[in-house]
Amino acid sequence: MNNRQPLFRVVKKNQVDGRKVILSYLIAVAVALVLGAALLALMKVNPLDFYSKMITLGIPGNRYPARSVEGFIRLFVPLLLVSVALSLSFRMRFWNVGGEGQFIVGAICAAAAAFLLGDVLPTPLVLLAMVVSAALGGGLMGTIASALKVRYGTSETLMTLMLNYIALYLLRFFGETQGAWNIFLTDDSARPRFETFPDSAQMPTIEIGSFSLDVSLLVVVVLCVLVYIYLKYTKHGYEIAVVGDSPNTARYAGMKVGRVVMRTVFISAALVGLAGGFYVSSAGALSTSVTNNVGWTGVIVAWMAKLSPVGIAVTSVLITVLQYGCQVASTTYPNIDSNFANLLQGMILFAVLTADFTARYSLVWRGANKEVSA
C-alpha cells in the first residue's frame, strides 16, 4: 500500500500567512529582476538604466510625455476589461479560454457596424451600434460553448479554445480576400488592406492640455465597478458563487444551474467582445493581430489576482507597466529587442506564480506522510 504512493504529494496549507505570501512575491520579483539584470549586463546594457526607464515608462526626458500615458492606456483598457470579464466565467469554474476569439468577433462586429452605419447615422448612434453589436457578437461566441456544455456536457475548455482559431481565420479571410462584398477592406489599395473607420466610428477623446483621454477608459472603469457590485451585492452574483463552489448544492437549493451558466458566460463573453469593440474604435481600424494576446494575458491576470475585481485592476496596471515599460526601455538600446522584453516578463510571471504556489501549498514527501496526515 505504502509503496504505491507517489514520491510526493501537494498539500494545501491550512493557514496562509498574508505577510509571508507578500514577502515571497517580492522575493520572486527581485530574483527575476536580478536574473534579468545579469542578462542585460551580458549585453552591455546598464540594468539600472534599463529598469528605471521601464518603471517610469520612459516619461522623464520624453518629448511627448502625454503620448506615453496614452500608449499605456491603450494597452491597459483591453487587458482590464478582458481580465474582469474572464473572471466572471472562472468564478463559476467555467474555463473560458476563448477570450481571443470573443475579442476578435467583437472587433469584427463593431467594424461591420462602423462601415455599414458610419456614414448614415450621427456619432453617438454609430458608437452605440458598434458597442451593442460587439457585445452581442462576443456573447454569441461564448454561448456556443456554454450551450453545448449545458445541453451535451462538452468540454468548454476545448470548445472555447478551438473557437479562437475559427474567429482568427475568419478575420484573416476578411483581411486577405478582396471583393466588392468585403466592406472591411479599402478600395484604393492594390494590395489588401483594412479600411480606416469613418470619423463617426472613432472613440471620442477628452482633451486635457496636450493629453487626450480615451473615453473607453472611463467606460471600462465604470463597467468594472458594475461587475464588482453585480458579483457582491446581487442575487445573480450569489448564484455564480454557489454554482462555482458546487453545482449540486446549487441544484439542491433550487437554482437552475444551466441557466446561471448560460447567463454568466454570455455576460463574460459579451464583455470580452465589448473590449474588442472598444479597441478597434480607439485604434480606428481592424487588423489581423488586433488582440495583442489579451485573451491569454487576461487569463493570467485573472488568476494572479485570485479573481478579485480589485486585485485584477491592480494586477492589470502592473502587467501593463511591465509590457509597455519593457517596450519603451528596449527601444533605447539597439541590441535589446522585444524577445528580451518577453523573456523578462515571462521570468517575472513565472517567479510570482511559483512564489504563490509555495506560499499556499507544501510538498509532502512519501516518507513524511504519517506525521502530516494526522
Binding site: 498574508g18 520624453n62 518629448r63 500608449g71 492594390a190 485604434a283 486585485g311 539597439p334 529587442d337
Partner: protein, 398 residues
C-alpha cells in the same frame, strides 16, 4: 489579505519609481542630437531575412554619415501590422526625439499616414507603401525587377550552355502581389532574351518564408520538370541548397547566397538599402523642410545602385559577365527598360565581344493578350509597383 497585497504591490512600484528616478534624469541625451527611428516587423538581432537587410542598410548608412547607431538609432521591433501597435511604436520613437522614422512593412501604412499629420516636424518614410503627403511622409521601394532581369539573363545563358530549357522559380506569391508577379515576369523576360526556347516553371509556396516549403518546392520543380536552374523569391537559401544537392544551378535573392550553395549559385538579385537610407537620412539632417522635394517618393533602380546582382560566380556560362554588363549599361542609361515593346537578344562574337540586338516585339501575357504593342513604351511604374496581375509569355504556373 487581498487588499494588503494590492497595497504592498503598489508600494513596491512606488518604491521602484523613487529608487530609479535618479539615473533616468542623468542619462537623458542632449536635444541637439539627430535621431533616427525604425519600426521593424521582426528583430534587429535576426541574422538573415527582410528586417536584417533593412537594419544593415540603416546602420551602414548611419555609419557612413558619421552617426552612431548605438546612441542615435531607436528601434521598436516585432511590431505587428496593427494600427494601435504601430501608433504606439511611433509615439515611443517620437517621444525619444526621433527626427525621421522608417517603417519597413506594408501594413504600417494607415498609422504612418495618421502620424505624419500629428507630428509635422518628424519625417515619416514607409517602405513598400503607396501613400505620401507634400511635407513629411514619403514611400520608398526599388526597381528590383531590373536586377531580376539581369539574373534571368545569367540563368538563360546557363540553360543555353547545358541545353536544358526548363528553369524553375520558387515564388512566395505570384499574381496576388505586383511585387512577386513583376519579379517572375522580369526574370522570365531576362531568361528568354538569352534563350528564347526556355520556359520558367513557377511553384508558389504562399508564404514569404518557410524553409521546409521552400526546399520541397525546389525539389518538386526539379523532379517534375527536370529544371536545370532554380531561381527564387523567398527568404532563405533553401532553394539554392536544394539545387546544389541535385547537381543543378540556382539564382538567389536578397543576399549573395554563394557560400550556402557554392556549386550551384550563379548570382542573386539583391537590394542595397543603405543607398536609400543614406540619401534619406542626409536629407532629413540637412534640410527636413525640403525632404519631399529632394528625396520625395523614392523608386530607385540599377541607375542609383539601389538594386543589383551579386558578383557572378564561376558556375556561370562563358561571356555572362559581358552580356550582363552590356544590358546593365543599357538600363542605367535609361535607353531601354524591361517591360517595353522592345526585346533584347545577344550576338556574342568569338572574341567574347557582345552586341545587343533590339527588336520591336509585342509584350504578351501567357494567355496571348498583348500588354505592350511592338515598339511601345514601358509599362508605368504604378502598374509594376501596384497592379500587375498577369504572367508574361514563357511563364508556366506549376
Amino acid at each position: 489579505m487581498k487588499k494588503l497585497l494590492a497595497l504592498v504591490m503598489a508600494g513596491a512600484m512606488a518604491l521602484g519609481l523613487v529608487a530609479c528616478g535618479q539615473p533616468a534624469e542623468g542619462g537623458s541625451a542632449g536635444d541637439d542630437e539627430f535621431k533616427v527611428g525604425a519600426i521593424y516587423i521582426n528583430s534587429q538581432n535576426d541574422t538573415s531575412g527582410y528586417t536584417f537587410q533593412h537594419h544593415q542598410g540603416i546602420t551602414t548608412a548611419m555609419e557612413q554619415l558619421g552617426l552612431d547607431p548605438e546612441s542615435q538609432l531607436a528601434i521598436v521591433d516585432n511590431v505587428k501590422e496593427e494600427d494601435g501597435a504601430v501608433s504606439n511604436a511611433i509615439d515611443i520613437l517620437a517621444g525619444q526625439g526621433c527626427d525621421i522614422i522608417f517603417g519597413i512593412s506594408f501594413g504600417y501604412i494607415n498609422a504612418m499616414d495618421a502620424a505624419a499629420k500629428e507630428y509635422p516636424d518628424i519625417i515619416f518614410s514607409h517602405a513598400t507603401g503607396y501613400m505620401s503627403n507634400e511635407t513629411n511622409f514619403n514611400n520608398y521601394f526599388g526597381r528590383i525587377y531590373q536586377a531580376r532581369y539581369l539574373s534571368g539573363v545569367a540563368a538563360g545563358l546557363k540553360s543555353l550552355e547545358t541545353g536544358n530549357n526548363a528553369i524553375g522559380y520558387v515564388a512566395a506569391y505570384n499574381t496576388e502581389y505586383a511585387e512577386t508577379c513583376s519579379g517572375i515576369n522580369a526574370f522570365t523576360l531576362g531568361v528568354q532574351s538569352a534563350n528564347p526556347n526556355a520556359k520558367v516553371y513557377v511553384n508558389q509556396i504562399s508564404t514569404w518564408g518557410d524553409e521546409a516549403k521552400e526546399k520541397s518546392a525546389a525539389q518538386a520543380l526539379i523532379d517534375t520538370y527536370n529544371c536545370g536552374v532554380i531561381a527564387q523569391h523567398c527568404d532563405s537559401a533553401q532553394p539554392q541548397m536544394c539545387a546544389a544537392d541535385n547537381g543543378v544551378f540556382g539564382v538567389g535573392y536578397n543576399s549573395d547566397m554563394t557560400d550556402k550553395a557554392p556549386t550551384a549559385h550563379l548570382t542573386a538579385a539583391i537590394w542595397h538599402w543603405d543607398v536609400y537610407y543614406k540619401e534619406a537620412i542626409a536629407a532629413a539632417q540637412e534640410d527636413p523642410q525640403g525632404f519631399m522635394n529632394s528625396v520625395g517618393n523614392y523608386y530607385g533602380g540599377l541607375a542609383e545602385n539601389f538594386v543589383g546582382i551579386s558578383p557572378l560566380t564561376n558556375n556561370c556560362a562563358d561571356n555572362t559577365q559581358a552580356v550582363v554588363d552590356a544590358v546593365s549599361d543599357l538600363i542605367v542609361s535609361g535607353e531601354w527598360d524591361v517591360f517595353s515593346g522592345v526585346k533584347l537578344s545577344y550576338n556574342i562574337g568569338e572574341d567574347g565581344s557582345v552586341e545587343i540586338v533590339r527588336t520591336d516585339a509585342d509584350l504578351k501575357d501567357n494567355q496571348g493578350n498583348v500588354i505592350v504593342p511592338a515598339g511601345g513604351q514601358s509599362i508605368t511604374d504604378e502598374v509594376i509597383k501596384g497592379s500587375m496581375d498577369y504572367n508574361v509569355e514563357g511563364v508556366v504556373v506549376g
